[in-house]
């Protein structure tokens, strides 16, 4: 479904990603993990067209993404739910969700889609006329994910959904993501630790200093791999 080969990118002279290759198969729950500040979010920004790729190829459903606008990439069903939610804080919850269905194919079905999001997150329906800025941290995360689900997403890229959430809410969010990955869309999840996704992930990529240093199924991902990455790079 998503095929990345030999991807390099960065901010001007500062190269962040070096020769990254990664594959996400349809219907799988794939996790991209690794210490913070090592390029995971940058990779998502390149995939969604917010940042240009310097080298390499990105294929999504057999179409090349290089050089395409974010609007064109979203229209193909590759949807990025950004870290920190990036809500439209002065719009209401409902308006935020409708914005998630901005593209015309999704806009036509927005009422039907919003019903499904409300079924998934009943709390959002209770808050639907409130401004997004009045929501609690957990509600904001639900809105961020719900907004992503309003699109015609085939592959959802979710960046650090557990960040800043209370443990009980983290469980709820991951249970929802698991349900989504089974019934709605393939999921590529980015997170710093594997703690939350341990029981869900089908396949894991470990990124360190902008490179994929290890990959495999959850079972192949022993504690030794993680330890060497984290302990080797931390403390500096």
């Amino acid at each position: 479904m998503l095929d990345v080969t030999g991807l390099s990118a960065g901010y001007g002279a500062a190269k962040v990603l070096h020769d990254v290759s990664l594959t996400v198969d349809e219907g799988k729950f794939v996790v991209l993990t690794g210490p913070n500040g090592h390029g995971k979010t940058t990779l998502l920004r390149v995939l969604s067209g917010l940042l240009p790729a310097d080298e390499g190829d990105m294929l999504f459903c057999d179409e090349r993404l290089n050089g395409r606008s974010t609007a064109a990439i979203v229209a193909r069903g590759l949807v990025h739910i950004p870290q920190g939610d990036l809500l439209f804080v002065d719009l209401t919850v409902e308006q935020n969700l409708f914005m998630g269905a901005y593209l015309s194919a999704a806009w036509r079905n927005r009422r039907e889609r919003i019903r499904r999001v409300y079924e998934l997150f009943p709390r959002l329906e209770e808050r639907r006329t409130q401004q997004a800025r009045t929501l609690s941290g957990g509600e904001r995360r639900m809105l961020g994910i719900g907004r992503g689900l309003m699109s015609n997403a085939k592959l959802l890229m979710v960046d650090e959904p557990a960040l800043g959430l209370a443990p009980v809410l983290v469980q709820e969010v991951y249970a929802t993501l698991e349900r989504i990955s089974r019934s709605e869309a393939t999921v590529l999840l980015v997170e710093e630790t594997l703690a939350n996704a341990r029981g869900i992930a089908d396949y894991v990529y470990l990124m360190d200093t902008g490179r994929i240093v290890h990959e495999g199924t959850m079972a192949e991902f022993g504690a030794d791999v993680l330890h060497s990455t984290y302990l080797g790079n931390r403390g500096s």
Partner: protein
């Protein structure tokens, strides 16, 4: 008492015109993060379009209003492609300041073109409606004032519906509030920019046609309105839609009261003093947020 009521009515009517005029500045500032100094020129061009259609060609005033709005919307789009689009996303310049200067230059070019086309002489234009409505005692409003208030309210109501309900309107607000997220929703920012400029032109053009019977149509007809618009925008807090409406009526009322009780020569000095006070005491305006809170 009757003088006061008369002044308040006049202030509210001017406030309504300032509100739609300044809303153009507000939308563009929210979306593009620059002051569009051509906003006054949009009104000036709108006035000329209305003058050509009504005084020259004999069409009814309402046709003049529509023509003014449409022409100014076109000028808004033109301004975008001449003076804003070439600057968007360039890393070697300070966009906000450069676009501010380039829109000011375009406004001067529009005025100069109008002088070349129609000469520098003022043109008179008929009001939308004639006559006066007597309320009580010596207090009366002209039907023109009623029409102006009505048109302004329709514009503000329509704008609110557009921004809050429609796909295009929501995308303008989304780009203004969270640029990256708007792009991740698939919003093509380039299109939102020129649609916003067209909307700013439309609003400016309507304000220009409403003001034209009071101030004549002239190449410099946009100068005073943009000064008033900037005053309203600064008092409101740049980019605040709700603040713009309140501030427009406050400014309209202050202006009318000063003109009535102190003398009309004093209204501009008072407004400019108000800007200075706001710049010192509350630089982010009544309804704006301090920069650090915006993040």
């Amino acid at each position: 008492m009757e003088t006061l009521v008369q002044a308040i009515i006049s202030g509210l009517v001017f406030g309504a015109i300032y509100a739609i005029m300044t809303m153009g500045l507000t939308l563009v500032y929210g979306c593009l993060r620059t002051l569009n100094m051509a906003q006054g020129a949009f009104g000036m061009v709108g006035g000329y379009a209305a003058w050509m259609l009504t005084t020259q060609a004999g069409a009814p005033p309402i046709a003049g209003l529509i023509a003014g709005a449409v022409a100014a919307a076109g000028i808004g789009i033109l301004t975008h492609f001449i003076s804003i689009k070439p600057l968007v996303g360039r890393k070697d310049i300070d966009f906000e300041m450069t676009a501010y200067i380039s829109t000011l230059v375009v406004a001067i070019m529009f005025s100069a073109s109008i002088i070349l086309l129609f000469g520098a002489r003022n043109k008179a234009i008929d009001p939308l409606v004639e006559g006066r409505l007597k309320i009580f005692g010596t207090v009366s409003v002209s039907w023109q004032q009623v029409a102006v208030a009505g048109v302004a309210l329709i514009c503000l109501g329509g704008l609110s519906l557009l921004l809050n309900r429609s796909r295009q309107g929501l995308s303008i607000m989304a780009v203004a509030q969270q640029f990256d997220a708007a792009r991740l929703m698939g919003v093509p920012a380039g299109r939102v920019y020129w649609v916003t400029m067209a909307l700013a032109g439309l609003l400016g053009g309507i304000a220009g046609v409403l003001l034209a019977p009071l101030y004549f149509v002239s190449p410099s007809a946009g100068d005073l309105p943009i000064l008033k618009g900037l005053t309203v925008a600064i008092v409101a807090g740049l980019g605040s839609i709700r603040g713009t409406i309140y501030a427009a009526f406050v400014i309209g009322l202050i202006e009318a009261l000063v003109a009535t009780y102190v003398g009309s020569l004093w209204s501009l000095p008072v407004l400019f003093s108000l800007i200075v006070v706001f710049m010192i005491v509350r630089p982010y305006g009544l309804f704006g947020k301090p920069e650090e809170e915006r993040l």
